[in-house]
Amino acid sequence: MVTKTTPGGITASERMAVRASQELQNQEVVFVGIGLPNLACNLARATHAPQLFMIYESGTIGTIPARLPVSIGDPTLVTDSLAIVSQSDIFQCYLQGGLIEVGFLGGAQVDRYGNINTTVIGDYQNPKIRLPGSGGACEIATHSQRVLIMMRMSPKSFVAKCDFITSPGSKMDSSKPSRDLGKTRQDLKLPGGGPTKAITDLGVLEMLDGEFTLTEIYPGVTVEQVKQNCGWDLKIAPALKTIEEPDPKTLELLRNKIDPDRLYL
């Protein structure tokens, strides 16, 4: 993972983890992903949201990890959880059953509607790069009440059209023909609310009227820079907010308690 450092010595990953943690409310039920989402959730629990209710895809409910999990099925997630359930329970009862308030997603490509590709770069049958596939991403995007996307911006990752849509955003859009092309979540009667924000290394994109709009930016980052790292003509909010840099206490927690080996920071 490339570590970009700001003039203040704060890495892009640290900014993203801290900004994403602020999106989580106390007592919310969150489906936690490995990597930055895990840092964001555990930081929220250690600060403003001590009763954040964490669920991991492997089937751990009400989890309080004692160490940083490297995998979604790390044994530390099991120890001291409130419940351990099978894969069929996690997807049927918890996710499809509508219990998940916040889901986290990332991927190789995202478009202006928050559609995400984690399957292939290039043609599906003959891909340039074969990616891992959906895992639980498609159902997290379909059923979570809201989805937070965490991705670094670049013209290769924030694209006009995804090569393959693995996880649905606000509206189906792709260069690939599809029976659902042009349909919105409402048209398709998708139960979850879909992506609401993309937390990136340059700023925050918010889903407004079904399309991502830049609403927040980090100090020292210009609108031009954000536009250059986006593959479509990105809408910019008239009142652009500047994100506050993480305070030293929060950084200290993140660096020394939550990810002491700097695996994801």
Binding site: S58, G59, I72, G73, G133, S134, T142
Partner: protein, 309 residues
């Protein structure tokens, strides 16, 4: 209709279990969602060179990639293929990208789709409905994903076909010699796959007396009546883990990225740790007692329950 398997003693060696129950051309399912992935069984299949396999699991990880590298897999059925938290499966990448020689057949779902296939298989139904895949390309890339109209609401649901692997390999913490198997910690799709499969091999960290099973019947995930063979294979999951027995060898998963990226180092690994040993015991000797001591779980007992009446 299925015949319950009531043999009193099903204990065999891993070598015998694989030789008798895993056949060329089979659809195999070595279960485990991070937890309880039976590497010992995968390695034995490689040693016996049983090929032309359809390898099925939600998360084909390192051991499935090793089966692919060994040239034994013709088709992969899956929902997430990678080295979790670390990177790619390189044998798979080499066999699935543009201009790859000898491309692997692939059949792809999401986790929920795969889980639903095991549910249908275990329940004796031909398919399973789920609210999923709309607004994506997943269903359109896999003709086996279809849809059904709900007879009550008129809504459309995606459907996936029942899964019936020829053989399921289920690693557990403890079992008796009839194959009554108890699991704690992550349960994956162990139960559903055991009920779906035509043949079941239970591999256990510990073989216990049936009385131990009977004293805690709620913990039995797979009943012996489904089980064809029981293998006693301590540390059979390394580098995966068994809750309460040993930790996941995260360092190995991280190192694997470098080992597997280059076909030469990959071949060297298989030569040394798979073909170069005759069984799991020799593998463990090669891995070294220092590492095993480091990974051995620290006790964390629960209070237990009272089954009295």
């Amino acid at each position: 209709m299925r015949k319950p398997k009531l043999t009193a003693n099903k204990i065999v060696s891993m070598k015998e279990a694989v030789r008798e129950l895993v056949k060329p051309g089979n659809d195999i399912y070595i279960e485990g969602f991070t937890h309880l992935i039976c590497f010992a069984a995968g390695h034995e299949i490689i040693r016996q060179g049983i090929g032309n396999l359809t390898a099925t699991r939600l998360t084909p990880d390192l051991v499935y990639d090793q089966l692919i590298e060994a040239g034994l897999v013709k088709k992969l059925v899956f929902s997430w293929a990678g080295n979790p938290g670390v990177g790619s499966l390189h044998a798979l990448r080499r066999r699935s990208q543009k201009d790859s020689a000898n491309k692997l057949e692939m059949e792809e779902y999401s986790h929920f789709g795969m889980v639903s296939r095991t549910l249908a298989g275990s329940a004796g139904l031909p398919f399973w409905p789920l609210k999923n895949f709309e607004g994506t390309h997943i269903a359109e890339s896999n003709p086996k994903i279809k849809s059904v109209t709900c007879p009550y609401t008129g809504e459309t649901y995606a459907t996936v076909p029942a899964l019936h692997p020829d053989v399921a390999i289920i690693h557990v913490q403890r079992a008796d010699k009839e194959g009554n198997a108890q699991v704690w910690g992550l349960m994956g799709t162990q139960k559903e796959v055991a009920f779906s499969a035509k043949r079941v091999i239970v591999v256990a960290e510990e073989i216990v007396d049936t009385q131990v099973i009977r004293r805690d019947p709620n913990r039995t995930l797979v009943p012996g009546i489904l089980v064809d063979a029981v293998v006693h294979e301590p540390w059979g999951c390394h580098p995966s883990y068994a809750q309460g027995f040993y930790d996941r060898d995260n360092d190995f998963y991280i190192k694997w990225e470098d080992i597997s990226r280059d076909p030469k180092t990959y071949a060297d690994y298989l030569a040394e740790f798979v073909h170069g040993v005759k069984d799991r015991k020799e593998y463990l000797t090669k891995v070294g007692s220092g590492l095993l001591d480091r990974l051995k779980a620290k006790p964390r007992k629960c209070e237990g329950v009272d089954y009295g009446y």
